[in-house]
Symmetry: C2
Subunit: 412 residues, 2 copies
Amino acid sequence: MPVLVMKFGGTSVANIDRIRRAAKRVGLEVAKGYDVIVIVSAMSGKTNELVGWVNEISPLHDAREYDAVVSAGENVTAGLMALTLQEMDIPARSWQGWQVPLKTNSAHSAARIEEIPTDNINGRFAQGMRVAVVAGFQGISPEGRITTLGRGGSDTTAVAFAAAFDAERCDIYTDVDGVYTTDPRITSKARKLEKIAFEEMLELASLGAKVLQTRSVELAMRYNVKLRVLSSFEEPSDEAGTLVCAEEEIMESQVVSGIAYSRDEAKMTLISVADRPGIAAAIFGPLSEAGVNVDMIIQNIAEEGRTDMTFSCPTDQVIRAEKALREAKERGDINYHDLIADTNVAKISAVGIGMRSQSGVAAKMFKTLSDEGINIKVIATSEIKISVLIDRKYMELAVQALHDAFELDKAA
Amino acid sequence: MPVLVMKFGGTSVANIDRIRRAAKRVGLEVAKGYDVIVIVSAMSGKTNELVGWVNEISPLHDAREYDAVVSAGENVTAGLMALTLQEMDIPARSWQGWQVPLKTNSAHSAARIEEIPTDNINGRFAQGMRVAVVAGFQGISPEGRITTLGRGGSDTTAVAFAAAFDAERCDIYTDVDGVYTTDPRITSKARKLEKIAFEEMLELASLGAKVLQTRSVELAMRYNVKLRVLSSFEEPSDEAGTLVCAEEEIMESQVVSGIAYSRDEAKMTLISVADRPGIAAAIFGPLSEAGVNVDMIIQNIAEEGRTDMTFSCPTDQVIRAEKALREAKERGDINYHDLIADTNVAKISAVGIGMRSQSGVAAKMFKTLSDEGINIKVIATSEIKISVLIDRKYMELAVQALHDAFELDKAA
């Protein structure tokens, strides 16, 4: 029988009533003839409670013990979901990560999946079991200890299972009903997308659209797993949610599919850096070693032989970045007059596969912002994305203006 | 290094502060030179929450899924305890049941321990680890599924580890400071016992003294594990608590060591049963098959060829017992006029190793109750115990009178 993977997030399994509701959706797919693999998160709030206890004991904790503690919530939900399905006369059983076993490397708290053997679960499907309920977010290391995949890791678990079992689709049930052209809280014109390409979703996810964990989208793209994002609070329907799929499956792409924003970006400027070959490496090497995720980079010629270097990084990495650069200066590796951090900025991005084949998107974006009197501080572009840093106070205005300019309220 | 097992119950690990307090006690023993195996329960209330969810979904649940769910609480505490010890610079790590692995049979929710391999943990002790924190109450079945040992199973886990690792002692930390001559809530004259024999503890435990799980005492007796019951809320001292040990280690036993009571016993009477050879088997066979735990049995000759048969069983098994007997009657296996259940009774027991060598204990007990005007409904005796069923309203009075009569307020 064809296999379907269904993943339920924390709000979708927050209490017994919601677990029952989720189980009913599973039952609908079983009735259609699917063998279903259900991936569950912890009941909402539970993982935070566990993380809170660990941090109360020790902020610098042993990641192996952290993983052993925080994986508990998913185990509970997996068992409760299996029981609920059994109560509906659907043959089901639960698996914890180590029982599958979902094998990972030993990078505790951010482990990578290495292998998901299918014999065990497929054997049970062959014997008449209809639903395998698997605790998300967790695996087992080569040393036999429990690992976790990082926050939001249940999405990744779901996609990995869909790939391993060659599932027809991977449905991610969450508390939003799909992927939108932009945040509906910023403009009521935001429209739910019927389909979105992996690459676009990846850009949107990495830009802070919290619908899917970035890694899960990467994984889906690599293994061509059809992902559907939908709400567990809406009536079931085949058209529900947003399908994240390969570009080829989207007949008519819009030039721009969505406008994303992020408040968590800071702009840092090194004033009057002595310019010489290798200076970029001398600046960004130490930042990389310090674990700073540099996003956009811009270099201005300031005067003869000197340059201003501007880059953006997450706000919470500013202190780390300053320290790394100060130390590089003290070592004599780089030389600059001043270092200015501006945390009062926002990043606005236009994302769309269509940009590849259509020119003028950047020009239209810049003109739109200019018409609104919004000054652009930094620009970065990729094949399917244009991002700009602007003053934070213009963030909502910029999103609304760009959403209008690219006519995102109208279906393709 | 000698091994010590320390078990902390739910109230002793109810929050992070209490876990720290427990960890400090572990630290004291480590400082004395012990390698310590810590067995932890779930934080108080957590297991009840999990059991509540399972019962909300299905009162008749799959015991395998029940076990997968309710074992989660101990896993959390084990990790938190290991982290707390590490924070105190004590080398520690946690083990879940399947990691040890603590091997059990497949009797889910009431599994029996079959083997505890010691190589793994002893290997770590040899490498310098000082504390192994083990999640209590749980194990793994031959099929690789999680099992639990039944409520209070962490006591059994602790004793089993003490036996497997040949521990010097097994300290059970709980919210009472030892074993008393009777319930201090019933008489302020109740006195804490310094020592009590395994057999006596076993009788008291099975009579409802909730200090230790019966199975853990049985196991301790079989493997001669020295058990100490003590409070985690008292100042540490070598004299704290009550030592449960072999009879030989108690110099001077009192005739009676304790008075126990139970409200959860019902009296059932089959009126005018046709008496014939094998009638007892015809009555108690079906009860046993129905899972009714018959405790006391008494048979009166009522009239020629007929008899009244009275027995006691736990109050919550009365309906099951009635059904089993009615069915046996319908099948024609037994014949009786009426079946009367009296749930308004209490069981009072006097327990003491000294009874073996001293006569007149029963007579003294009956006279004491008679002097108080308390009618005895059923009597049952064993080598070291005399139990009676009386009207429930006299329960407190009976306990107080017997405690006085046997002078239990005075040390031996």
